[in-house]
């Protein structure tokens, strides 16, 4: 048999238990702020949530459909700049729904951009696709820096209104936390549904054998493009949330380094693992935050951490921990008999 290298089959819990996982995750997410002391911890939690949304989209693309993107930061940037630019333009108008128009515009623009560049780029495979998306990411970064009349270049944009739900301004870390947590759960649920559907199976089929997928009636180009656009839309959403969370947008945040961090989140969390996105985003965000004071040394330590994880937990943190837990359980059961 020609076994194409692929991640282990998703150990998706059986449908009847799936909603239990979400209930549990919802409970944990709702209670988490009680355990987090201080604004800074909440701020990190929001950042992790935002990165989770991007990593989830990228995992659908990479882990499930098998298509690499080294330019995902560009879509986050498109979302962030859409919200910031529109928000700054509308600074004089006060209506709570306006920032949401910016969010939708960011998602839509990111999705449209993904569709436009995806048609030619997704004809490439493997390393060539990686290089193509890398080039796209670099071009978008240059646009953010150079198109000063629109983006103000390296100065960045601030002074746009926070998100609000009717009268409730989401201007505190706690309120932002609950919004992001709800969106993360929604995105996770949708992704989980997609994976266990005709569309998700088609995507996974494309990953392992394009030939068998095509002769089974799967329109390969169409599904590659669909998942690319979906990952772009999720990245755009995350970008808009980021802009409103930080209140400031600058090209530095959406460069090559961030694209690589996103790929690392997917790998650390576990390819083809929905819940792994949280772990990957959490690990990379926290490591990045703690290493910030070390400046250039941080890259070295970051690399070492990545290598360690790849060597010892090649299936990612989430599966590694799950496997370790079941091993321990088995051992304990073994002792009992």
């Amino acid at each position: 048999m020609r076994v194409v290298t692929a991640p282990p089959a998703p150990q998706g819990p059986a449908p009847p238990r799936k909603w239990l996982w979400f209930l549990l995750a919802g409970g944990v997410a709702a209670a988490l702020p009680l355990a987090l002391r201080g604004e800074y911890a909440l701020h990190l939690a929001v950042s992790i949530g935002i990165n989770t949304i991007v990593a989830l989209g990228l995992n659908l693309l990479m882990g499930y459909a098998g298509q690499v993107s080294l330019g995902q930061a560009a879509f986050v940037g498109i979302g962030a700049y859409s919200s910031a630019i529109l928000g700054a333009r509308w600074a004089g108008v006060h209506h709570w729904a306006l920032p949401w128009v910016g969010v939708l515009a960011g998602m839509a623009l990111a999705a449209l951009t993904a569709a436009a560049v995806g048609v030619p780029l997704l004809k490439l495979r493997g390393h060539y696709l990686a290089m193509g998306t890398l080039g796209f990411g670099m071009i978008m970064h240059i646009v953010m820096v150079q198109w000063e009349s629109l983006t103000t270049g390296t100065i960045g944009i601030s002074g746009f209104a926070p998100l609000a739900l009717a009268g409730l301004k989401l201007d505190s870390e706690l309120r932002m936390y609950y919004l992001v947590a709800a969106l993360v759960l929604l995105a996770l649920a949708m992704a989980s549904n997609i994976i266990d559907s005709r569309v998700g199976r088609a995507m996974r089929a494309v990953h392992t054998s394009e030939m068998a997928a095509a002769t089974s009636g799967v329109d390969i180009a169409r599904y590659k493009l669909q998942v690319f656009v979906l990952s772009g839309a999720l990245a755009g959403l995350a970008g808009s949330l980021y802009a409103h969370h930080v209140g400031y947008v600058n090209p530095e945040s959406f460069g090559f380094a961030y694209s690589i961090h996103l790929v690392v989140m997917v790998v650390i969390g576990g390819m083809a693992s929905i819940w792994g996105a949280i772990f990957g985003a959490g690990a990379v965000t926290l490591i990045g935050e703690h290493l910030r004071s070390l400046q250039e040394f941080s890259t070295i330590i970051f690399g070492l951490v990545l290598m360690t994880i790849m060597v010892f937990l090649p299936a990612g943190l989430w599966r590694g921990v799950a496997a370790g837990a079941s091993l321990l359980r088995g051992r304990r059961r073994g002792e009992g008999t």
Partner: protein, 269 residues
């Protein structure tokens, strides 16, 4: 409805200097089991790849139920009712046994990205029907005992071949192409495979198969096409073909007897 299920008209395929298939024409009538045989390198798998649009022919055309299939992408040919298996098993190794078969029914289902995201009622009932159908296909090929949640790559080789057949059947195909289904199977497994192919034909599926197992081919086929170096050297009922001098020569590896003028590989360019 008089058009044959499959028609090849003067189909040729060239790989660089090699003429892999040379102006090949034959038909497969509805309800037949037809076999495509020939020595190694005769171009049998290439013919399958031409029918399923993995390769595009350099000349000639393929018609399915009288409609032109040549020029369409593979997934459109699948939509026309052509399903196949592969000589080197091509399963979706990262999916469960059941999911592999469910992909096979892709052309018979509709759910799109949005309805799938929200698990709309239509999608839910489609999924339930699909899973039931997939189990039915698994039962038909004799994999009812295999846990449907098992990873496809964990199956023994013989069962992987059967799983490919189940996946192809899930598309409710008009025409099933089996590429060396008996390769690597034991004698007992091959005998069961022969019965399975006949049962599939009895369900109304036309079958075209490639295999090296002459016992199997001669026992189950209604008609046989013999290829040698891309050329059709014989076609007919199994008995006729077996007595054909050119066929015997091709299989015994003699100098191909009296090549007809204008035929033969010849220089490629």
């Amino acid at each position: 409805m008089s058009a044959p299920v499959l028609q090849l008209r003067e189909v040729s395929k060239r790989f660089g200097g090699l003429l892999a298939v040379d102006r090949l024409s034959f038909e497969v009538a509805r309800g037949q089991i037809k076999a495509l045989i020939g020595p190694n390198g005769a171009g049998k798998t290439t013919v399958f790849n031409l029918i399923t649009a993995i390769h595009e022919p350099n000349g000639g055309e393929v018609r399915v139920e009288g409609k032109r299939a040549t020029g369409l992408p593979s997934h459109r040919v699948a939509e026309m009712g052509v399903a196949r298996t592969f000589q080197n098993v091509e399963l979706f190794s990262n999916m469960s046994v059941l999911e592999n078969v469910m992909v096979g029914a892709h052309v018979r289902t509709r759910a799109g990205l949005l309805s799938a995201s929200f698990r709309l009622p239509a999608t839910r009932s489609e999924e339930a029907g699909l899973a039931a159908k997939a189990r039915e296909c698994l039962r038909l090929v004799g994999l009812a005992e295999v846990p449907p949640e098992m990873e496809a790559r964990a199956l023994p080789f013989g069962q992987q071949r059967l799983l490919e057949v189940a996946r192809a059947l899930a598309a409710d195909p008009l025409l099933l192409l089996l590429d060396e289904p008996a390769a690597g199977l034991s004698t007992a497994e091959t005998a069961r495979l022969g019965e399975l192919v006949k049962r599939i034909r009895d369900l109304g599926v036309t079958v075209l198969l490639v295999d090296h197992d002459m016992d199997l081919v001669m026992r189950i086929s209604d008609e046989v096409v013999v290829l040698d170096q891309g050329l059709k050297i014989a076609e007919g009922r199994p008995r006729q073909v077996q007595r054909d001098r050119r066929v015997i020569a091709a299989y015994l590896g003699e100098e191909s007897s009296e090549p007809e003028p204008g035929e033969g590989g010849g220089p490629a360019c």
